[in-house]
Amino acid sequence: MRPPLQRLRNILDFALASLSRRKGRNLSLLGVYTLVVFILASLIFFVQALKGEARALLAQAPDMVVQRMVAGRHDPIDLGRAQAIEEMRGVSGVRPRLWGYYYDPIYGGNLTVMAVEDAELPNDALWVGQGVARNLRVKQGDMITLRAYDGLPMLFTVQKVLSDASELISADLVLMSQSNVRALFAMREGTATDLAVDVGNARELPTIAAKIVERFPDARPILKSEILRTYEAVFDWRGGLMVVVLASAILSFVIFAWDKATGLSAEERREIGILKSIGWESGDILLLKTWEGAVVSLTAFLAGTLLAYVHVFFFSASLFDHALRGWSILFPRYRLAPSVDAYQLVILFVLTVLPYTVATLVPSWRAAMVDPDTAMRS
């Protein structure tokens, strides 16, 4: 091995030995450090995974949805408009959608009720998502009562519980026939909740949206890309907000680290004094301190990241989930798809290891400048 490398290795060896000589102190530092990394890493991984889920979910969504707004309030849209929009150049298809939110007073949550045209679904039956089945405690073949807009109960048989593969989208979903949706929400014939518009060339979307608004001033076109952008912004904002909240935790950790690094014990001072008197230079002591810091940082970083990985992707981030996911009552049950990339690790590194390193720079230098003579005499 080349001599400079050998020197680095020897100092690293010494640093490890010196860390293990002060086990109690270093383990407490390592514990707190790991905890800080763990919390921040869980947060960053979780936000990233949620963004990934939203992206995967919306991949299936229509390119554009057109709603009707009456002075800021959403209103059913005339089916005649579907025809008019379909005739516009560039539009490849328009599907009217019939759906609404139904508040269930029994367990206090909203269900998304949607119409499907499926020959297998009889008029007095419905299909429910896993979340609905869990919360209403129903299974295939059971009966459900929903109260229509006029207060009269409507009785349905649960014909099918939707598969759990689609749970993130279908948790709160109830599917029924068109006529039942109209009866439940008092929707007139010839209207729909909104129109799903498919466009052949995605680059024409803004132009087509502009045409629709020009033709129907009360229409509100919403692009898939806008929904996606809004989701990303919301998740980023929530993640960033949590980081700001956690800043106080990072700050107190930095103060803790500073304090630990500044308080040299008499034994440590003597040790540095002896090292210097047997020929170590100040630069070597500084390197020794750097190695000690690097070992602690890397161990804490690795341990914290691994724990966070397990927390987020095996236990679905059970510690923060409610703060970050949303405020619905009916939560889907899901396992997030693991997605960790170098970018998130670098962010995490900057947010945790960097403050620690900066906080220990001056104390390390102070330690390295100890005068051998006074250190050994004290």
Binding site: A210, R229, A233, G240, Y343, V346, L351, L361, V362
Partner: protein, 330 residues
């Protein structure tokens, strides 16, 4: 401002770099004022001890600075989804007048930081702190630049506003901002291509001449800086097109993506490393007659010349081969 963890990390990094460099510059100023190597006074001893602190402050700051350069590009890339019309970092940086100046200043401070490390390394070779004035002089330039950069970066991020859905109308607010990154085409290839290859040739000749006669270090450094700029311009102007195999995609950032095999890291790494080594050769040239350095310095300079040439050729070989093998013919 967008509350993005990456943005918060960058703001923290810049604040810390600014703090470290400002602290180091203040110490450096005091060292410059009171430095007298012949004196054995307590003050001089204290100053000599402080040089250790300054170097560890600056070395940390510079490491963070390099990291934050890539983190900045990454974050701009990650934010592209939130602006209508932005396809990659090029779009997010153009959203706001402070985007590109921040990037350029980050690049400049990273280069100067690398140069500082070269000076520092040379300084350590001599027993009598031969480069102390040059080193701390550069530091006094570097610290304000880092502070300005932190400020610009803050202005850039605080001015960002995501194009999120509004409750009155969707879809239409993007209309006025079509083709956000259209201006990034750079020089036409028939100018950039000869410029790039002739600079590479000149750099190689000059490097060999220096190795043979030990003269012209300044010229080598200038050529090295020129090659760096020409390489960046050529990357935007035509090499990138071959790599993407798209005649219209003039983007220096998509090279960092997975679909191009992360080739951008190798290319930018080679360019940055090459220009720092190349500029270092000239920067230390005025000190080659110092008694404490005349043994070590020529050896180190020779190593840097070889490194700089090797990295320049590595870049040229990668992009040249890619262009040659690319299905795209311009």
């Amino acid at each position: 401002m967008i509350q993005h963890p990456g943005i918060l990390a960058l703001l923290l990094a810049s604040a810390l770099v600014g703090l470290l460099l400002a602290g180091a510059a203040a110490l450096g100023l005091r060292i410059l004022q009171g430095w007298d190597l012949r004196s054995g006074s307590e003050k001089q001893l204290a100053l000599e001890r402080r040089t250790y602190l300054v170097s560890s402050l600056v070395a940390t700051a510079l490491g963070v600075q390099m990291l934050s350069l890539f983190l900045f590009i990454f974050t701009a890339d990650d934010l592209q989804g939130q602006f209508v019309g932005a396809m990659c970092a090029a779009g997010s940086l153009a959203v706001h007048a402070f985007g590109y100046p921040t990037l350029l200043l980050k690049l400049a401070t990273s280069l100067l930081a690398g140069l500082w490390l070269v000076l520092h390394r040379t300084d350590l070779q001599g027993y009598d702190y031969p480069l102390i004035r040059a080193k701390y002089g550069l530091l006094l330039l570097l610290a304000p630049l880092a502070l300005v950069e932190a400020w610009l970066q803050f202005r850039y991020f605080s001015g960002l506003k995501a194009d999120v859905m509004t409750s009155c109308c969707g879809a239409l607010f993007g209309q006025g901002r079509q083709g956000i990154a259209a201006g990034l085409a750079g020089l036409p290839p028939r100018v950039a291509q000869p410029l790039f290859w002739s600079l590479l040739g000149a750099l190689t000749l000059m490097g060999c001449a220096w190795l043979r006669w030990r003269r012209g270090a300044w010229l080598f450094s200038l050529l090295s800086l020129g090659y760096f700029i020409a390489a960046l311009v050529s990357l935007v102007s035509f090499f990138g097109l071959y790599i993407y195999a798209l005649p219209t995609h003039h983007c220096p950032f998509c090279l960092l993506h997975r679909e191009h095999g992360f080739v951008g890291y190798v290319l930018y790494g080679a360019l940055l490393g090459g220009v720092v080594a190349g500029m270092g050769v000239g920067a230390v040239a005025p000190f080659q007659n110092r008694a404490s350095l005349n043994q070590a310095l020529p050896r180190m300079q020779a190593r840097w010349v070889i490194a700089s040439l090797g990295l320049a050729w590595l870049f040229a070989l990668i992009v040249g081969l890619w262009a040659w093998l690319s299905p795209l013919k311009l």
